[in-house]
Symmetry: C2
Subunit: 328 residues, 2 copies
């Protein structure tokens, strides 16, 4: 089971599906952390996913001068959270790792532990040029290449960066050359911006006789005007028409789930026609019950879009849906 995700990435499979969470706040006492983990475990075990993405939140306030709509809160370390608190969850853990705040030595131990547990990582560079970086992305890539060669390393891909200055397909391929075998996008609300990037990537790969690596499109339900504002703060491009739909919606959360489905269906059709191995990562970064439920609904709808069997029988627990040898 744990090897399934690694194999799927090695085979550049389309249609991978993950669920993305943030660890509980560091300020939570141990009992509360365990309680959060227990509830997450119970929920995630029922989901038809290939992997669990665990984010590594960092204070990105150096990236912009605008005030952060939600305050930054330090969380439990995502590797600790995935491997200790969620140890009973037999789903591959895909742990985001912001490399800038850590020493190379620290990173080495942390990632080696993740590798031993069958995990995967997504390495994230500094939030801006002004952030002091103890480790730079190329050093972290080199560490993984040299010392943890079997652990798949992912990279972050941002369509908005492509829109603003172009060349994101080149940066993606440079990361691939440095060892990234899959990519996860920032939250996507603009099908146009993502198509532009996928298209440029596709033709660039075709020209160089290279295969397009698997890309997970991140979808993130939006439960309020304030969250919409936060998406803007994070640099997520929301087209005018889609913003209108959310702002005028009677139920902004449900509307965002519907729109996220539309966006993914659009991108998925586009990618399938070109043989781009597109997958999906559904983000659940809120603690509110209704927003968590919305993310589960979104995940299940995307699973159906991807043609997966989402009946409880097919996924009584995530452990049951793949065999130990990685076959289905």
């Amino acid at each position: 089971m744990l090897r399934w995700m690694r194999q799927a990435i090695a085979e550049r499979r389309a249609g991978l599906l993950t669920y993305g969470i943030t660890p509980p706040k560091k300020s939570f006492e141990e009992a509360k952390r365990r309680e959060v983990a227990r509830r997450q475990l119970e929920r995630i075990a029922k989901l038809p996913v290939d992997g669990l993405v665990i984010y590594d939140l960092q204070d990105e306030s150096t990236r912009t001068d605008a005030a952060r709509p939600f305050p930054f809160m330090e969380t439990v370390d995502p590797v600790d959270y995935g491997l200790d608190y969620l140890a009973a969850l037999k789903v591959p853990k895909i742990v985001y790792r912001c490399v800038a705040p850590r020493s190379l030595h620290d990173l080495r131990g942390n990632l080696a532990r993740l590798d031993t547990a069958g995990g995967l990582t997504v390495l994230v560079g500094a939030a801006s040029r002004t952030q002091v970086a103890r480790t730079r992305l190329p050093e972290a890539y080199a560490l993984c290449r040299d010392e943890l060669p079997t652990m798949p390393v992912g990279g972050v891909v941002i369509a908005e960066r492509h829109q603003a200055k172009g060349g994101e397909e080149r940066r993606l391929l440079e990361k691939a050359a440095a060892g990234c075998s899959f990519f996860v996008s920032q939250a996507v609300y603009s099908p146009g911006a993502s198509k532009d990037l996928l298209s440029d990537l596709y033709y660039c790969c075709a020209e160089e006789g290279q295969a397009v690596p698997p890309i997970l499109v991140t979808l993130s339900p939006c439960g309020s005007r304030k969250t919409l504002e936060f998406l803007g703060w994070l640099g997520v491009s929301v087209p005018r028409w889609l913003e209108n739909e959310l702002l005028h919606a009677r139920d902004i959360l449900q509307t965002s789930v519907d729109l996220c489905c539309e966006v993914f269906a659009d991108l998925s059709t586009f990618a399938r026609a070109k043989g781009i191995p597109l997958g999906c990562n559904v983000e659940s970064v809120s603690l509110k019950k209704e927003e968590i439920e919305a993310s589960v609904e979104l995940l299940e709808r995307v699973a159906r879009l991807l043609g997966r069997d989402t009946s409880p029988k097919a996924f009584p627990a995530t452990v049951a849906h793949t065999k130990l040898d990685g076959s289905r």
Copy 2:
């Protein structure tokens, strides 16, 4: 039959379908003009359209400093062309009229003739602020309101203008207040830009308790790199991914027809969900046989998308598809 289009606009019907042509060059001798008209008539009589749009080409070189990829050629007057050369074609003529180069007196006679023949007009203002205007758009609107109150007057709507500076929904509603009862877009290749405009228009109308007027989305097949360049010169926004598809296509013309269909299907779904009366105008502005055939294919595919019966039996000639009282 001729009244059908007028009635459909008065009722704000969705799904109107027109075909758009340019008159032959003025330099053509009479025999050649007649020959062009005969061939167009034969072709258009078979099409399942509600109206025939006839463009009024003007030298727009004051609009931009960039060199025009195709030279400007003066054509036969579109009212003369529609009412004389294509008189036998029993389809309502929707004649574009650039008002700037004409005196109000001249315009009055010209439009009155069109009105008597059951036609419609689309009034077009100066191409730029620097163009010398003998008549301004507000004067032309006033003329129609006061002297030709039963002839539907259309306006041009440009999503790219909305993208660049916003407020196109306001300009559209100002034109509506001045008497425009329908709108025709510039060639559309960017579904995102058009959705942004339709969305802003929809919510603006909802707020003011106003009905959204019928809007015809213009689709224009693109047969070559040079035509693609010309679209750029005209200010048509072509998203990066769509440009890639065209530039890498084995058959750019056929690919453009496929993409135009996709764009319209996307916009049509979007508009239907909101009750926006969207229609389509398929442009055929080339003299090349294969480009003309492509426009006919595109029109027939859009007709099917709109749920029309396009069998030859249903449209043995355009005259047959509506009764004289305008009912279907």
